[in-house]
């Protein structure tokens, strides 16, 4: 019994090693996803290209501007001589923000009147525009009414508000989902396509032994990659793990079960590897979009948002972000854990049920 499972595990490992496509999914996919999502999808906006039209040109205006640029959110790309030139710079895309300080800026400041300054913002990228407006608002409040409101916002969980902190936990989930789903989807259907399944079903191997033997290697691979991605996230991207890493691994196992079940289900209903690939993509795309991996689920319209509840990654992302960013445990996450477990049992049962040792 154990011997049979072991034989299959061994065989799968040899095949993983020899098949270039599988090897690519195992080794390259996580690296690629980490790089792509870690760097390219960066919703933190800083270094906004900025031009300045300083009509006051004195110590006060220079002081204000230096505070402004010292925030790090803005980069000075040039001084211009007229309001038209500000427009031109934004039209041409060389700048996204223009700061206009009128000649009376310093006079008003010294006299204690609220000085007027203008900020021209390129609204074509709402993310950039929002950041610019926010920072400008805070700054002008501070420098204009030094004594007035002392507003000190405290940001919970992700104090630096770096999108990488939001992205890495999600990436762990996404990598696990991608790998387990793709690899198991191919696992059974490849045998069907090559005719080896026919040979397997005439051996005394039991369906659960076959499924277990097929799954174990990919579970191993998935966990190795979770460790790898966590290490990269922590040591390279500097993400701090607030909660228990052990708990994370345990709950990851629950998630992997549901993801593997989904993969096996894809595999048992497909006749060819191409079909399996298409089906896997069909499952994967909604996972990325609806799970809250990139887009906040809160801003989705209603039926779409509920659709996300049918995707295991949705729950797992909440678990991952809960543990890594908030440091919470099962006492808070139990509804997600339950949902995930239920999903896993259902999908796994379905696929084991669909796999019969007959060719009928």
């Amino acid at each position: 019994m154990i011997a049979r499972v072991w034989s299959i595990v061994l065989k799968e490992f040899i095949q993983i090693r020899r098949d270039r496509r599988t090897l690519a999914i195992v080794l390259l996919l996580p690296v690629m996803q980490l790089t792509l999502f870690g760097y390219a999808i960066n919703t933190t906006v800083d270094h906004i290209a900025t031009v300045v039209l300083d009509q006051a040109r004195d110590a006060q205006s220079r002081g204000f501007l230096s505070t402004f640029f010292n925030t790090g959110y803005f980069d000075l790309v040039g001084q211009v001589g007229s309001i038209e030139q500000v427009r031109q710079a934004i039209d041409a895309g060389t700048a996204r923000v223009g700061i206009v300080l009128p000649p009376e800026f310093s006079r008003d400041l010294v006299a204690g009147r609220a000085p007027r300054a203008q900020m021209v913002v390129d609204g074509s990228d709402p993310n950039t525009a929002q950041t610019a407006l926010l920072v400008a608002g805070t700054l002008s409040q501070r420098s204009a009414a030094r004594q007035a409101i002392d507003l000190r916002p405290i940001v919970l969980y992700n104090p630096s508000m770096q999108s990488i902190n939001f992205m890495i936990p999600g990436l762990l989930g996404l990598i696990m989902q991608f790998q387990t789903l793709l690899l198991t989807a191919f696992a059974v259907v490849r045998e069907r396509e090559r005719g080896t399944l026919e040979q397997l079903v005439v051996t005394p191997v039991k369906p659960w032994e076959l499924m277990l033997g097929k799954i174990l290697p990919y579970v191993t691979v998935a966990f190795a990659n979770v460790l790898f991605a966590s290490a990269i996230g922590h040591f390279w991207f500097g993400v701090e793990f607030a909660g228990s890493f052990a708990l994370l691994l345990v709950l990851a196992a629950v998630f992997v079960l549901s993801s593997l079940g989904l993969g096996l289900l894809v595999s048992t209903v497909s006749q060819t590897q191409t079909q399996a690939m298409q089906l896997a993509l069909f499952v994967m795309l909604p996972s990325i979009i609806l799970s809250g991996f990139v887009f906040a689920r809160e801003s989705m319209p209603h039926p779409i948002r509920e659709l996300g509840l049918l995707i295991p990654l949705t729950y797992f992302l909440q678990i991952l972000r809960g543990i890594i960013l908030k440091g919470v445990g099962v006492e808070v996450l139990w509804p997600e854990v339950l949902a995930l477990a239920a999903f896993g049992v259902i999908v796994f049962g379905l696929s084991a049920n669909r796999f019969r040792k007959t060719l009928d």
Binding site: A3, I8, Q15, R18, R194, V202
Partner: protein, 306 residues
């Protein structure tokens, strides 16, 4: 006890009756061949006997176990080699054998010994580390046989074992099969090569899911045809092929290359046939009586059952 007992075994796929009330026994230790064209129900029968296709009706017992309810007992005790030599092409010769040895739970201590034996048997010594996908057809076939008998089953099912394999490899494959049969293994094979069926102890002719004849090859040849078989060399053969069936006393005419095989009633002589052809203006080189081959019987049976 017969190795295989089949009673009224039937399998339908929708409208199609793939196997139609088949009844037969395969004795222990014999080489039993299922001969028939593609689609005659050979593979479906074998798959039912291996327990991987459920019969629609009827019974089958393999080594005493019921095919419908005890298929897992059967699977542990039989060897099966499918048409496609279901080897893992990305595994080496030894890895393939080790894998199946594991699935059939050949005990760890015995395993290395058994794998070595099979590699030697298949003539693959020195090629243990070669990928199965890089082997030639004949080698693949012998490796697939090795995988199928890794657990020393008393009964071996071979589904078209020599399809797509060169004649020399077929020869050496049959030497292996004879060796297994001498060792007491019952062999149940399907083939559409008529000459291959001659190797078997008994041959069942399959057609459209029904068995139309069952006998040792020699008996089939001798008694399978009613009448006398004449081999005719004439010019133009095509005209003779059209004309002869209209002659009284001629039962069947078949073209074999440039020769005609003509089945006639026993009283109809070779000379009478030659005379009839000449009267029609066909140049006759020779007419002689021949012993029917299995192919003659096979073709005749197929004709008469259409």
């Amino acid at each position: 006890m017969a190795a295989v007992e089949v009673r009224e075994l039937t399998r339908t796929f929708g409208e199609l009756v793939a196997v139609d009330h088949l009844t037969l026994d395969v004795r222990q230790g014999e080489i039993f061949a299922f001969l028939g064209p593609n689609g005659s129900g050979k593979t479906t029968t074998i798959r039912m006997l291996c327990g991987i296709i459920t019969p629609t009706s009827g019974q089958g017992r393999v080594l005493g176990f019921d095919v419908a309810t005890q298929s897992e007992f059967i699977k542990a005790r039989i060897g099966y080699m499918s048409q496609r030599f279901a080897l893992y092409e990305d595994l080496t010769v030894r890895e393939n054998l080790n894998f199946y040895a594991g699935l059939y739970q050949v005990a760890g201590g015995r395993r290395a010994q058994r794998v070595r034996e099979l590699i030697a048997m298949a003539g693959l010594t020195g090629h243990e580390r070669q990928l199965a996908g890089h082997l030639s057809g004949g080698w693949k076939q012998r490796l697939a046989l090795g995988c199928a008998i890794v657990h020393q089953p008393p009964l071996l099912f071979l589904d078209e074992p020599t399809a797509g394999v060169d004649p020399v490899s077929r020869r050496s494959f049959w030497t292996l099969i004879y060796g297994l049969a001498r060792g007491g293994v019952t062999i149940f094979l399907t083939t559409h090569y008529i000459d291959e069926a001659e190797h078997a102890d008994r041959v069942a002719l399959m057609l459209n899911g029904r068995m139309v004849a069952l006998a040792p090859p020699r008996e089939l040849r001798e008694t399978g045809l009613s009448g006398t078989l004449l081999e005719v060399e004439c010019e133009p053969a095509v005209d003779a092929l059209e004309f002869l069936p209209t002659v009284a006393g001629v039962r069947e005419v078949t073209l074999y290359g440039t020769l005609l095989h003509v089945l006639v009633e026993d009283h109809f002589s070779a000379d009478a046939l030659a005379a009839a052809l000449r009267a029609k203006g066909i140049a006759v080189t020779s007419v002689r009586e021949i012993k029917p081959s299995l192919e003659d019987v096979f073709v005749s049976r197929i004709r008469s059952s259409i």
